[in-house]
Symmetry: C2
C-alpha cells in the first residue's frame, strides 16, 4: 500500500516514476525527520548502490517544483524536505538543529496562487526558531549539577 502512495503522488504531480524517484518519495513519506539530501543519499545509497547525490538533489528539487514535497530553508546551512504538503509551521531548534512540525499553529493557507502588490505568491512558509523542549531540559539539568 505504502509503495502505491509514493507512486500515486508522483503520477498525480505530473512526475514520471523511476526507481530512484519512487524510492526517494517513499523515504519522504515514511520518515518525518525533514531529511536533507545527505540523509537520503546515505540511507538509500545502501539499498540502491548506484544512487548518486546528484540524482537526490535533482529529484528533491523536482518534487518541490511540482509541489509534491515542501522545500524548507529554515536551516541556514542546508536545505531539507518535507513529504507532508499540508500547510503547517516548522520549528527549528537552534541548539540541536532538529526541525519539528507544529500542526496546531495558525498558518496562512495558500490553496492557490495569490496576488500581493502585483507579485504572484506561489508558496508560503512560516518558520519558528528557538530551543526545543528536549534541549531546554538538558540545559536545566546542566545548570543544576
Amino acid at each position: 500500500m505504502k509503495e502505491k502512495e509514493a507512486y500515486n503522488i508522483l503520477v498525480n504531480s505530473g512526475i514520471r516514476p523511476s526507481v530512484q524517484r519512487l524510492a526517494i518519495m517513499d523515504y519522504l513519506l515514511n520518515h518525518r525527520t525533514h531529511p536533507t539530501v545527505d540523509e537520503i543519499f546515505t540511507v538509500l545509497g545502501r539499498k540502491i548502490s548506484t544512487l548518486s547525490r546528484t540524482t537526490v538533489y535533482n529529484t528533491l528539487r523536482l518534487f518541490a517544483d511540482h509541489h509534491a514535497a515542501q522545500m524548507l530553508t529554515i536551516d541556514e546551512r542546508r536545505v531539507c524536505y518535507d513529504g507532508d504538503t499540508r500547510p503547517h509551521v516548522h520549528f527549528l531548534c537552534e541548539r540541536c538543529g532538529k526541525v519539528i512540525d507544529l500542526f496546531d499553529e495558525p498558518v496562512p493557507v495558500l490553496t492557490q496562487a495569490r496576488e500581493v502588490n502585483g507579485n504572484l505568491v506561489v508558496d508560503a512558509q512560516l518558520y519558528y526558531r528557538g530551543i526545543c523542549a528536549e534541549c531546554q531540559c538538558k540545559e536545566k539539568y546542566i545548570l543544576n549539577n
Copy 2:
C-alpha cells in the same frame, strides 16, 4: 542623526560599538535591499580598506543573535539580513532572486518568547515565494514578441 541611530541600536541591544559594527549597522539601516554578506563586504570594503569578510559574517550573526537585525533564510543559496526588525512578510522572486518587504500582510507577531508544545519560540519568519511584478511583466512581453 543617522549615525546616531546605528549607535543607539547597538548599545540598546547590548552590543559594543566598534568602527566595523557601526558601519555595518549603518549600512543595514540605509539599504533596504536585504543585503548579503558579500554585498556589504564589497561596498563597505571600499571605505574601510582593512575590513574582512570574516568580520562581516561575525557581525551580522551577532546582530541577529541580539535581535538587532533579522537573519533571512528565504533564499536557499545564501543568507541575507534586514535592518528593519518590525515583523513583516518577506517575498522572494524565484526568477530574479529579489527579496521584497510586504508590510500589509498579516504576520504572527512575536513580541516576546512564547511556548509551543514545550518548545521555546524566540523568532518567527513568514516567507512568500513566487514571481515578482517586474518579472511577470518581462515574461508577458517575451510571450507577445
